[in-house]
Amino acid sequence: MSGRPSLVGRVAREEWRALARNRVAVVAGLILAVLLAGSALLCVEQRNAIEASRERHQASSDRQFDLQPDRHPHRMVHYGQFVFRPLSTLAFFDRGVDSFTGHTVFLEGHRQNSANFSEARQSSLLLRFGELTPAFVLQTLAPLLVIFLAYGAVASERERGTLRLLAAQGLGASDMLAGKLLAHGGAAGLILAPAALALLIAALLGWAPPGPAVLLLVIYGLYLAIWAVMAVLVSSLARRSRDALILLVSIWMVLVVLIPRTLPEAAARLRTQTLTRIETDIAIHADLNKIGDSHDPDDPYFSAFKAKILAQYGVRRVEDLPVQWAGLVGMEGERLTSQLFDRYAREAFAREQAQNRFVRGFGAVSPVIALRQASMSLAGTDIESHQDFLDQVERYRYAFVQSLNRMQVEQIPNQGAGEDPRIAAANWKRVPSFAYVAPDVLRLAGGRIAANLAVLIVWLVALLALCAPVARRLREDAR
């Protein structure tokens, strides 16, 4: 499509002037701007409140741990440790699955507890209408504004008969189409402005990571551009502007409301069912019993373990060991359980991912799906970030339990420890506390972000490629 810049610019300027004169459009635009800015401010405040409360809980739980009195280390293994998932800074922009995943995990020996107290489980069903975040406004409402501004772009010219008039005055169809696209692309950019401002301020203040913040802007820009081009194209093809509006709103309904809702149901039905926690617990328990029973003196696995330890310390009987035998058995048991936890968690996550891949595959059908994925990934609130947290938690749990077990091995006498052996409370301060390392989302989810970005670009390019035949249609119509 070759357009003459001066004419294209004039068409765009005219379209802008018309939009500015359209009072309903201006009011709708202002309302959306207020919603965006308001939701950004509210969500920053909300995110900080959530984060502060999790930090407070973490600090008080850590302090309580350090304050425990003299005890047997195994008591502390079951006293356990609470960890709280810190919330990424960009969670203010897109809450992602954070409200649906628990953020509190209780860690103890030889058990893997679930992450509990998710917001969704503690809210009324109101939460399921969606959370008012900038992402919600941009994903769901902004396309409607784009549609509302652009549905009449070409169709109303046709209705008024000005299409022919303009052609007679020498304005080519491609120039006009390019001008309209420029105008509505610009309008989409303006719609994005409050969100852009929020993201840039957050990045410039060093509060949010700059790379993901900028990429968020890019994907939402692409997304709104897709809607702007789609709206102008439909407007060019529709006979009446009313038809264009109905068709565009229907497309929005299907892409934004219907498809994202129906796919999970299909995924849950088509894909393998995930194992429940209960089944996993039972399976792990059975597997452990298969490996061996540490209480059985004739058990092959633990006999071999005993022989190894005795050889290592160069003694003939466990009673002669310089370290506590029960503690060593405990450490070995923890090692075995932990391996099983890891294996089952990996399998469960793989099954979950198989379901999600099915849904994500439909990004090609609805750009909303690709956008949502990329947005959550960039905000660090997607399922992979949550899994990364759970992995860190499990690694920490193992280190935490084994450090206590080691204290038992080294400090509790192997023989004649008495009825209630305890070690000094000062030891608890030496147990490491949980230090969450926020993942670099670009490294953690780089591939997925790139794939979703590619889907959005392909959508935009494909729609732009449609402009040439549409311009031809317009030219024929104007004759």
Binding site: V24, A28, L35, Q46, S53, H57, Q64, R71, R75, H78, G80, F82, G96, F100, T104, F106, N113, S114, N116, F117, S118, E119, A120, R121, Q122, S123, S124, L125, L126, R128, F129, G130, E131, L132, T140, L141, L245, I246, V257, L258, R261, T262, P264, E265, A268, R269, Q273, L275, T276, R277, I278, E279, T280, I282, A286, E352, V359, I383, H386, D420
Partner: protein, 452 residues
């Protein structure tokens, strides 16, 4: 009657109207089908877990059900399964059943450390919400109404027939009311037809089906009334469509999302975490105080074990389980406060029905289908009661120091499913009734004015 048939034929001749109705019918049928299959999947999953649990229970029986078995070990290593089957109406409104666990195993240890466990949930699939009849009703049915109603009057004007119609010898407004009525009826037919079939398949109780249908009728009627009101205004069709879609965005998307943000800020529920932290302190503190400090309050609560509750300085199962029960009792106040904050969120959600008919319909259908937060709390209550049965079952063995044998495993209490907690909340129903009556009042006034 003839006139109605004529109106019907006229309406269905419009391709857009016929397409919208067909689409609604298909989506409603698909949603009902999806709901029935999701419901069946949940039931199947409960059965699957029950099978696995039976194996685990049998293994525990073999391992700990020796002739001289100790009840302390048996109670420590034996889990007992509880489950919450979907109600027969859950197929229509899955509510929170996709995120709340409906299988939970408990043992004799402190309940508060077990009650809030999470089951496997794929959060990414749960995020958009379930595709069920409630979704079609709340989100999609209004859009079908908008498609059918937005050009009720303006369509005639734009086709040049309006003057002709006003010259007809009918009472002012009657024509528009009749037309709106026909449209409302068709939407309800397309919407409720599949639902009623689904209710038959699921053998849902008549009362629940009636209430759910009433909610659907009131909710769709609200939108039809609004459509009539806007349609009678005398603007162009495109303007009417835009106005009605705007109302839909505000009432279905915006108000609920805003209200949720306000509610989660106004009523925080961090007490759930606080109470588990407190429960842990209570239980573990017991290890560091004289045995008497645990046993005295326990005996005060259970005088029947007064003579058998004496324990020495070392470890004893009597003391161990007493300590766990006292740990739960110690946080009873916090549990009540936590539950109150959840109930407050639910109550405010119901009041919100006055602002958004979508929110009113949502809380109504899920309350009737017994699949909302309140339903889950009812399940938790039942698990709590079951946990008391476990105490009643194990304590005689523990305190009388009777051996716990293979036969005794078979005597263990089995979880009995809770009765339905389904109810019809008055506030949202009243809100829906008032809102839909006012919409129709506005519509009727508008329709009268149009002709005169």
């Amino acid at each position: 009657m003839n006139r109605f048939r004529y109106e019907l034929r006229l309406l269905l001749r419009s391709r857009v109207a016929a397409a919208a109705l067909t689409l609604l019918l298909v989506l409603s049928a698909v949603a009902v089908g999806a709901g029935l299959s999701a419901s069946a999947r949940q039931t199947a999953l409960i059965d699957r877990v029950a099978t696995a649990q039976a194996r685990d229970f049998a293994a525990a029986t073999t391992q700990y059900g020796k002739p001289d078995g100790e009840a302390g070990y048996a109670a420590y290593y034996t889990f007992h399964l509880t489950s919450d089957r979907p109600s027969s109406l859950a197929f229509a409104a899955m509510g929170q059943r996709d995120i709340q666990p409906y299988v939970l195993r408990v043992r004799l240890l402190g309940l508060q450390a077990q009650l809030y466990e999470t089951e496997t949930v794929n959060p990414e699939l749960a995020l958009p919400g379930p595709f069920d009849f409630a979704f079609v009703l709340i989100y999609l049915a209004p859009l079908a109404v908008i498609v059918l109603m937005h050009d009720l009057v303006s369509g005639e004007r734009e086709a040049g027939r309006l003057r002709l119609l006003s010259a007809l010898p009918v009472t002012p407004g009657q024509l528009w009311l009749r037309r709106a009525g026909v449209r409302l009826m068709l939407v309800l037919l397309a919407l409720l037809g599949p639902f009623l079939v689904g209710a038959l398949v699921a053998k849902a109780p008549i009362w629940g089906v009636a209430i759910l249908s009433l909610v659907a009728i009131l909710y769709v009627a609200f939108w039809a009334g609004l459509g009539l009101m806007v349609g009678a205004w005398g603007r162009r069709s495109a303007f009417n469509a835009a106005t009605l879609v705007g109302c839909w965005i505000v009432l279905v998307l915006l108000v609920p999302a805003l209200a949720n943000a306000a509610l989660s800020r106004a009523i925080p529920v961090g007490r759930g975490v606080d109470l588990t932290l407190a429960q842990r302190e209570a239980v573990h503190h017991a290890w560091d105080v004289p045995r008497e400090a645990v046993m005295a309050p326990f005996v005060a609560k259970h005088p029947e074990w007064k003579d058998k509750a004496r324990v020495g300085g070392g470890f004893h199962w009597k003391w161990y389980y007493a300590m766990h029960e006292m740990g739960d009792d110690g946080v009873a106040g916090q549990v009540a406060a936590y539950r109150a904050s959840l109930a407050a969120r639910q109550a405010w959600t119901e009041r919100l029905g006055w602002l958004s008919p979508a929110a009113a319909a949502q809380s109504l259908v899920h309350r009737v289908a017994d699949s909302d937060l309140q339903a889950h709390l009812a399940y938790q209550d039942n698990v709590t009661a079951f946990h008391r049965h476990l105490q009643d079952f194990y304590y005689p063995y523990l305190f009388s120091e009777r051996p716990f044998t293979r036969k005794d495993f078979a005597r263990a209490p089995v979880y009995a499913p809770r009765g339905s907690s389904s109810s019809t909340p008055v506030v949202p129903l009243l809100a829906l009734l008032v809102l839909s009556l006012s919409a129709w009042a506005g519509g009727v006034v508008g329709a009268r004015r149009t002709v005169s």
